[in-house]
């Protein structure tokens, strides 16, 4: 029988032996198992965190690009509208100019035609006047040369009708 002064046979030597035993176990487990496993878990966590960060970065970049492109699309719409308006204006101006030129040309042509018609009318009148004068002169000459006034008068009328028929 081994009895010490302490109750329940508490033995400091054995407590210290237990302590030494546990200290060896603690350091052994820490070096052989705990630290390597924790390190690996940390490494894996960092690996997935890096992947996650990369994915988040790419997502942010894609969102920025989307925003940029949508802005550019909005600008493009405005640009297209401005260009269309400008082209429309230019087209209207060109149409008005060509209309004006056509009108001027038409006016000029009408004026020229009018002048030509006037000149022709004058020429016709002049020629008709001369023909009438010639006819009257011829008739007067015949009357003067013929005795029979009635015959002369009939011949005059016949000539006048003929000339009217021929135009």
């Amino acid at each position: 029988m081994v009895l010490t002064g302490l109750p329940l046979n508490i033995d400091f030597q054995q407590i210290l032996l237990h302590l030494a035993n546990f200290a060896i176990l603690f350091f052994g487990l820490y070096i052989l198992l705990y630290k390597p496993v924790v390190d690996f878990m940390k490494k894996r966590e960092e690996h997935y965190k890096a992947i996650d960060d990369e994915a988040m970065g790419k997502l942010a970049e894609a969102e920025n690009k989307e925003k940029e492109y949508s802005n550019r699309l909005e600008t493009c719409d405005a640009e297209i509208a401005a260009k269309m308006k400008k082209a429309e204006d230019e087209m209207n101006e060109a149409r008005l100019a060509s209309q004006k030129a056509a009108k001027d040309k038409a006016d000029k042509l009408i004026e020229e035609a009018r002048e030509a018609a006037e000149a022709e009318k004058k020429g016709i009148l002049k020629r008709a006047e001369k023909e009438i004068t010639d006819m009257v002169s011829a008739a007067a000459e015949k009357i003067m040369l013929s005795d029979d006034i009635t015959k002369a008068y009939d011949e005059f009328l016949s000539d006048a009708e003929r000339s009217a028929k021929h135009g």
């Binding site: 029988m1 046979n9 032996l17 060896i24 052989l32 705990y34 496993v37 690996f40």
Partner: protein, 305 residues
Amino acid sequence: MLVLDKKKRMTAIIVLIIAEAVISIGVFVTNGMVEKHETIKEVMKDAVLHEDNRISLFGLAEVNPSLISGFVVTALLLLFAAIMRIFVIPKFSYVPGKMQILLEEWVGFFKKLAETNSHHRNKFLGAYIFAAGSYIFFGTMFELIGLEAITTEGHPISLPAPLADINGAICMGCLSYLVILSGGIAENKLRGVALTLKEFSLPISMSFRLFGALLSGMLVTELIYFYMGLSIVLPVIVGVLFTLIHALVQAYVLTMLVSMFYGEVTEPPKKKEKKKKPHDQDPENTPEDTSDDSDVAEESSEQAA
């Protein structure tokens, strides 16, 4: 799930009954052959006091069998850890296998427990409760193996759990208290010491909780194994399930207590917000604010008193 047809089931049941009968007969027949060198009273008294059955430690000293159990458990755990370190851990991959999951869960459980209960300082605590929890769990489960040793008197003895010895339990309880104290000193200096010393009963309560829980498990097991009549079916429940349950419970309780107290003593002091003086307050303050001020004044007067 394995589904047996009726015929096979019946055959299995008959085989089991015959086997059980043969074992029972064997137990009864061989009962008289085993010479019991001590009574149940002596067995149980020795389990508590360790007066008689002592083992020689390499001829240097006579020690309790639990100390030898402690050495064996430590050796087995370190051997297992070394095998894992050499053959399993270098093959760890980001997609874990079964062994890797087991090791990560084992380590991760204690690490998470430390981080949850001690937010400010938990690196050393995680390693400590990992070692302590593993030692308690595997040490308690060790008694199931029934490894035999020879006492100084020449009798064979089944090695008990390392912490079923009061010396082992005191070692674990006091060491845990010292770990808590060291955490308090490292984080809060003198305040940490004061916070730890406030819980002066902690080492005794932790030591005797461990000792009592593991000793009671061992006493019940000893009692049942001592009487042949009880040792046919009961050991399946008492020997295995009870040991497994109190191994888990005691490992969890000690690690949880250590991490909680460690977290408490390593918590940095909260900075008190400076209370506004009445003349510093905005003129737009409502009359309710003044009532708050009166409460503050009351509190300060109470503190002064």
